[in-house]
């Protein structure tokens, strides 16, 4: 039986090693992976390094690097990374793996920079532990969530579940625009409000629920209606906007303003038992006007008056919005850009449609600087149309 030291020596003979100088001077697009334990990685690591602890190598390596990529592994002194390199090379078919000699200790001795990650508090580590355990989110994704600024338009049916899940997810700043007060008839679906908060402003009621769930969230309240005079000021500075507004004029206005400021909008709408969802990422995918260049006439747009809706429907659509937000913030998965999801609750069907940018779109076919204040939210005869709809 070989000793541990002999095993390591043998592994080093069978893999290729690379000097820290070469990693530092000419990384040549290699994926650099730290195979040490969590606590070691958090103290400091090579700039841009990914983290796959050796104990999780086999299960997590594929989300960090593919078998045909150039992979450089390192640890504290070069032993664990040599063993990990041997595993990748011999058992997982990685074709171009190297282990950095001397590990991060030698790297530091050479005077090269290391990255010292921001740390979560013990409370945060516990609170977000189930996110951190998901490789697609991890510590890095959780940090992004904590830094994210997300604006919710409406604290109603869609905004209620979105706000709760984004607060629970640790989104650092949640802005809420809503000029309404809580009504008893809201409580059938707007689960962020309670019987106790009837008649209080929805922004206050929502803030209370968010802080009950997660006191670490910074809530910014806008007790107002979004209009052409305030929209640019309100939305500027947010990373993502969640659109759950209940009328066409605001949806067009929001689209035009968000294209100008290049802020992605996670958009959902609901009616009866049907929901629609898409992510409008300016200049990356289609905008709302590419999909709906003109609003429908009154009889086809029952959005001006009150309509019935299944209480849990905004629940599912709002939670889908929250998931798209988390994906956009963390970069996980494929966001719903250029696609429209239809959900029909009675038949329990989900339908995915392809959306395309309109090369003649009156808004997003132009540069943001060319879109004027006067054009925003404009379309023909809207007020007459809403009046007709009652």
């Amino acid at each position: 039986m070989a000793s541990g030291a002999e095993l390591i020596k043998k592994a080093k003979e069978q893999i290729s090693e690379i000097d820290p100088k070469q990693v530092h001077d000419s990384p040549n697009g290699a994926v650099v992976i730290d195979v040490r334990e969590q606590q070691e990685f958090e103290q400091s690591h090579l700039p841009g390094a990914k983290h796959v602890p050796r104990g999780h190598l086999e299960s997590r390596i594929e989300s960090a690097a593919k078998a045909d990529e150039h992979v450089i592994l390192y640890c504290a002194s070069g032993n664990r990374s040599a063993l990990a390199a041997k595993t990748l090379q011999d058992e997982l078919g990685y074709q171009n793996v190297e282990s950095m000699t001397g590990g991060i200790t030698l790297w530091k001795d050479r005077g090269y920079d290391v990255e010292v990650p921001r740390k979560l508090t013990d409370e945060q580590r516990e609170r977000y532990s189930r996110h951190i355990l998901v490789p697609e989110i991890g510590l890095e994704g959780q940090m992004k969530l904590l830094d994210a600024k997300v604006l919710l338009l409406g604290a109603g049916g869609l905004g209620a579940p979105t706000a709760l899940y984004l607060a629970a997810a640790g989104v650092g700043t949640i802005g809420i625009v809503d000029d309404d007060v809580v009504d008893l008839s809201n409580l059938q679906r707007q689960v962020i409000h309670t019987t106790d908060t009837i008649d209080t402003p929805k922004v206050d009621s929502a803030e209370r629920a968010i802080h009950d769930l997660n006191p670490g969230v910074d809530v910014v309240k806008y007790q107002t209606r979004l209009d052409a005079s305030n929209i640019m000021e309100i939305i500027e500075g947010y990373d993502i906007i969640v659109d759950g507004v209940d009328n066409f004029p605001t949806r067009y206005l929001l689209n035009d303003a968000s294209v100008r400021l290049k802020i992605p909008v996670v958009s959902a709408s609901i009616l009866g038992f049907d929901g629609q969802l898409s992510v409008f990422a300016p200049y990356e995918g289609p905008c709302y006007r590419c999909l709906y260049p003109t609003p429908p006439p009154a009889e086809l747009a029952p959005s001006c008056g009150a309509n019935g809706v299944l209480g849990a429907l905004p629940g599912i659509m709002g939670v889908l919005q929250a998931i798209e937000v988390v994906k956009l913030v963390t970069g996980a998965g494929e966001p719903l850009i250029g696609r429209l999801l239809l959900y029909e609750a009675l038949g329990t069907t989900f339908t995915n449609l392809k959306l395309r940018r309109d090369p003649d779109c009156p808004i997003c076919s132009r540069d943001p600087g060319e879109i004027s204040d006067d054009e925003m939210g404009v379309f023909p005869d809207y007020e007459a149309f809403c009046a007709a709809a009652g």
């Binding site: 409406g154 109603g156 049916g157 869609l158 905004g159 809201n186 659109d243 759950g244 507004v245 209940d246 009328n247 066409f248 949806r251 959902a268 709408s269 609901i270 009616l271 009866g272 038992f273 049907d274 629609q276 999909l291 709906y292 260049p293 003109t294 609003p295 429908p296 006439p297 009889e299 086809l300 747009a301 029952p302 959005s303 009150a306 309509n307 809706v309 905004p314 429209l340 239809l342 029909e344 009675l346 038949g347 339908t351 995915n352 449609l353 392809k354 959306l355 395309r356």
Partner: protein, 91 residues
């Protein structure tokens, strides 16, 4: 026959039907068959010149017929036509 999926706002015009079987070998023919079976849908789908209203999107399976051959796009029996006007409800 192909299946047309009817959006909520058009269902009052189809007697509440969510899906309607439509005969026709093109998108135009299939939508016309729908309009004949349920005349109230005609003015909602088509303008006076017979073209599709711009506020109505029609998808053949998952693709916008406007990027295919519009109303001339061929339709097979197994196809689904999704009719999609804008919705704005959020409350």
């Amino acid at each position: 026959m192909a299946t047309a999926k009817i959006p909520p706002v058009l269902r009052p015009s189809t007697g509440g039907e969510k899906e309607v079987e439509v005969a026709g070998d093109s998108v135009g023919a299939a939508l016309n068959a729908l309009a004949e079976a349920h005349p109230a849908t005609k003015g909602q789908l088509f303008g006076e010149d017979g073209s599709l209203n711009r506020y109505v999107n029609v998808y053949l399976n998952d693709e916008d017929v406007r990027v295919l051959d519009g109303l001339d796009t061929g339709v097979k029996d197994s196809d689904t036509l999704v009719i999609l006007p804008a919705m704005a409800g959020g409350a």
